[in-house]
């Protein structure tokens, strides 16, 4: 059955759009910069799922759609499709990341140390009622006090940029983890080319980086709980700024930096699956990789698990490449579910007619 278009409802649709504003019901307007500065993690989630890095536009999209993540992603993807893509960056070097957080669950002591950075991991999950009314000024004051405390130390001497080598470099030196040569195969681009299976590794990673965080989390969770074979150890989770550089347009032998972007990267270590003692004796380590825009640690960890899971063989959803890569896009997912709200009068009538005919036939038989 083909789709049949419907017409009409223009005035009702216009009124419906007006109602969105009426139901917004806000007495005080919230500025885009306020959203950008206060909702950083939400902005990061939207940029990551839209595959589009612009903190300002992500905040604008959020303001426009009452904070709906899928609507904001839709707006950004739609806007992005109107822009030319004139440049491809040089490969970003995450080993030179300017770190704000770096932890390892594999080793207690790592060269450069573990840095907790900004994290809710160790916070008390108690509502802070002091934020309710007019306490914002106190918060700002506390922030200022903290900075001035810090400046009491020798900022110039001790406030250097934090950069560290990778934990897996140590394992590679020990030959516990296989050292690999750089693979310079041009990446597949899922935004321009139709994905076919088996997909190249570059397509997998790009798809994961743009995936819905909830979907990717579900895939990883299922794998860890037994519907798969991957329960990794986080070798290193790092969060920080990397420079985006492109060839200089007037002389491609030179490069220019267009700015810094905030990213989260995870390397996960996965021991080979063992059931027998012989397999246990021959245990090897492999890795899973996650890299995403912004601060979203669970998504980056989930990405590394999903990546590692597709390297294993089995019949679980997390090991099914086509399943994992075609059901995690926020826009496609919400769009497909959302289309069910639109008129299906003709298709449904056809189904209803079929059921009625069967009912009539059954009644005739009974008579």
């Amino acid at each position: 059955m083909a789709y049949v278009a419907v017409t009409g409802g223009r005035e009702a649709i216009e009124q419906s759009l007006k109602l969105l504003e009426i139901f917004r019901d806000s007495k005080t307007d919230i500025s885009v910069s306020c959203i950008k500065d206060n909702m950083g993690l939400l902005i990061d989630k939207i940029m990551s799922e839209a595959g589009f890095y612009s903190r300002e536009y992500a905040a604008l999209a959020l303001k426009q759609c009452e904070g709906s993540v899928e609507e904001a992603v839709f707006l950004l993807r739609a806007y992005r499709s109107t822009l030319p893509r004139n440049y491809y960056s040089l490969p970003v070097d995450t080993s030179k990341m300017r770190l704000i957080r770096r932890i390892s669950a594999a080793f207690k002591d790592i060269p450069g140390g573990q840095i907790l950075g900004p994290t809710y991991d160790y916070s008390h999950r108690l509502l802070d009622f002091s934020l309710m009314d007019g306490e914002e000024n106190n918060r700002q004051q506390k922030k200022k006090e903290k900075v001035s405390e810090d400046t009491g130390r020798s900022v110039a001497k001790e406030g250097y940029d934090i950069r560290c080598g990778r934990v897996t470099d140590i394992l590679k030196k020990e030959k516990v983890l296989a050292e690999t040569e750089e693979d310079n195969t041009p990446p597949f681009d899922v935004t321009s080319d139709v994905l076919t299976f088996p997909a190249p590794r570059s397509a997998r990673l790009q798809t994961f980086a743009r995936s819905d965080a909830g979907f990717l989390g579900g895939v990883a969770y299922s794998s860890m709980r037994g519907y798969g074979a991957v329960h990794p150890t986080v070798s290193e989770l790092r969060c920080g700024y990397v420079e985006v550089c492109i060839p200089y347009v007037l002389d491609e032998s030179e490069e220019i930096c267009i700015g810094d972007i905030l990213v989260t990267e995870v390397e996960a270590l996965v021991p080979s699956h063992t059931e027998t003692e012989e397999e246990f004796d021959k245990m090897t380590l492999s890795g899973g990789y996650g890299l995403i825009f912004g601060r979203n640690e669970n998504k980056a960890i989930a990405m590394s698990i999903a990546d590692a899971s597709l390297e294993t063989e089995g019949n679980t959803p997390s090991q099914d490449e086509e399943f994992v890569l075609t059901h995690g896009d926020c826009l496609e997912m919400s769009g497909f579910i959302s289309h069910l709200k639109l008129p299906h009068y003709v298709t449904f009538q056809s189904k209803l007619d079929r059921v009625r005919i069967q009912e009539d036939e059954q009644e005739e038989k009974n008579d």
């Binding site: 589009f52 970003v92 897996t168 681009d189």
Partner: protein, 142 residues
């Protein structure tokens, strides 16, 4: 100073700081817009560290522009939606592409160094606060 260093300082500077630096060029040179500022996407390529292969992480919004400074081309490219900054960056780039004029270039380069120091100082405060969250986990019983 390499193109990368200059562009990094300009990318990290505020719109006002870049415009102020470009004003030094406007005082001395004839500036023409060759390609109007426009928004563009930059696809970010990344190298994953497990198999060291390349993949696309996503796109960054950027503003680009091209100018002529005393007849010499200059290009500006800045992440984000900021046409004024992209134009000012292109003007500075064009000026630095001119032959000779070392004394005048030194004025610009000194200013860029000053901006770089200011940026490092600003980052240093944050870096220090981050360093204070360095942790030593102790294993119970060891």
């Amino acid at each position: 100073m390499t193109k990368r260093e200059v562009s990094r300082i300009l990318a990290r500077a505020s719109k006002e700081e870049v415009a102020e630096t470009a004003s030094i060029v406007y005082e001395r040179c004839r500036v023409q817009i060759m390609k109007q500022p426009q928004k563009t996407l930059v696809m970010v390529k990344a190298r994953e560290s497990i198999k060291k292969s390349l993949f696309y992480l996503g796109e960054v919004l950027a503003s680009e522009c091209m100018v002529l400074v005393d007849g010499v081309k200059g290009a500006g490219m800045i992440a984000g939606d900021d046409f004024e900054k992209a134009v000012a960056a292109a003007v500075i780039d064009g000026f630095l592409n001119l032959e000779g004029r070392q004394d005048e270039k030194k004025v610009i380069l000194d200013r860029l160094l000053m901006l770089e120091n200011r940026q490092a100082e600003k980052r240093a405060e944050l870096n220090l606060a981050v360093q204070k969250s360095k942790v030593n986990f102790n294993v119970m019983g060891e």
